[in-house]
Subunit: 224 residues, 2 copies
């Protein structure tokens, strides 16, 4: 045995590691189905702003249910007016209504509108972000703040979080293969019992990695 | 010595590795200055197409020298007409002229123009790529092929390639830190004695990683 280029302690350590990983794989069970979506620019509106834009008591019309239960793309769109009088028309509203209005743009959109400092934020975290004007068929609304570029994030339920060994607010990585292969190093984990496993990136990110062509996509814990 | 949890052979191996790395660092010398640029959509033209668009024998006017010696953004622009009669005006021409015309678009541009299958290619590698029409002040030119999304790449001279331990046509990785941190996993190495160390990415890639905000950028060999 002394001719082996490894000692007993090391050998035992390697065997333990292999056995442990095999056990872990069995515990983890099959990987949950990973769905990745590119979110085009859109707006979430408060009741107050919807009233100003579409008239008092107006209700959004569902155009298409989204992947996450209860969320939908509305038939209604608005016009977004940026800081240098440039605008984007047909900005889609996503429902349901929220407590605070919020506009999510890719940097490409932000640049074309003349916004200079749109920050990367998680949805809802809009304190101190730029504002904008929105025009609807019945009036104009001013958002004092709420224009963000949404940080790439992954929705998952607690059992999916357990599978990956992560918790709410952790960061994960997403590797996208293909000709334009890249790895997103800061994918924010959002755990909620009502959701389905789903990565949301914006159109810049989807276009950078060629998401429409990508075949190999892998979500993993930082450090793995 | 028998109480140490490591044997002599391993110890020697580790010492050799540490010493070797220290020597290598000294041999490598200081890191060359890494400059990363985002290339907006643009066209390279052949003599034949320039003649068709601007008149026989026309010469491009230098608007701005680019970072790579001899390359320039021309004052002249053209209109690019996509497959569904959508167009982009003011498409910048980059000089000097080339043997074959080529249009480089980000996927965002390609989608807005109605192109469906723009491939990711290295500059010049345009066989079998989509074509387009280009309109200039004196006429229209048809490119039978040449519309690509340029693959992210790094220009370097041979001594910079030696510093990184890479050669022409290798792939490297580029890690961009910050809120939208990501790693480009397939950065193509282009070695040429006349160039300066310089990564070229397109506007989708720059917007995805928030290049305008990024402070920490690192180019490294695959496997490091």
């Amino acid at each position: 045995m002394s001719a082996l280029p490894i000692n007993r302690a090391e050998l035992e350590q390697i065997v333990r590691k292999v056995v442990y990983e095999r056990v872990l794989t069995n515990v983890r069970g099959p990987a949950p189905t990973l769905v990745v979506h590119a979110s085009a620019r859109h707006a979430h509106l408060s009741r107050e702003h919807l009233d100003q834009l579409f008239g008092p008591g107006y209700e959004l019309t569902v155009d298409r249910e989204l992947y996450q239960p209860g969320n939908f793309a509305a038939k209604e769109t608005v016009t977004l007016i940026g800081p240098r009088s440039r605008l984007i028309s047909n900005l889609r509203i996503l429902g349901p209504l929220r407590n605070r209005s919020q506009v999510e743009l890719a940097f490409t959109d932000a640049v074309s509108l003349g916004f200079e400092n749109v920050p990367v934020r998680l949805s809802g975290d809009i304190d101190g972000t730029p504002g904008c004007f929105i025009m609807g068929p019945r009036g104009m609304a001013e958002l004092k703040e709420g224009v963000i570029r949404a940080a790439i994030h992954v929705h998952m339920n607690p059992s999916e979080a357990a599978y990956y060994g992560v918790k709410h607010r952790d960061l994960m990585k997403l590797r996208v293969g293909g000709d334009a292969g890249l790895t997103f190093n800061r994918v924010h984990v959002r755990v909620d019992p009502t959701v389905r496993l789903n990565v949301h990136m914006d159109t810049d990110e989807a276009n950078a990695c060629g998401l429409h062509l990508a075949k190999e996509i892998e979500l993993f814990r930082v450090g793995e």
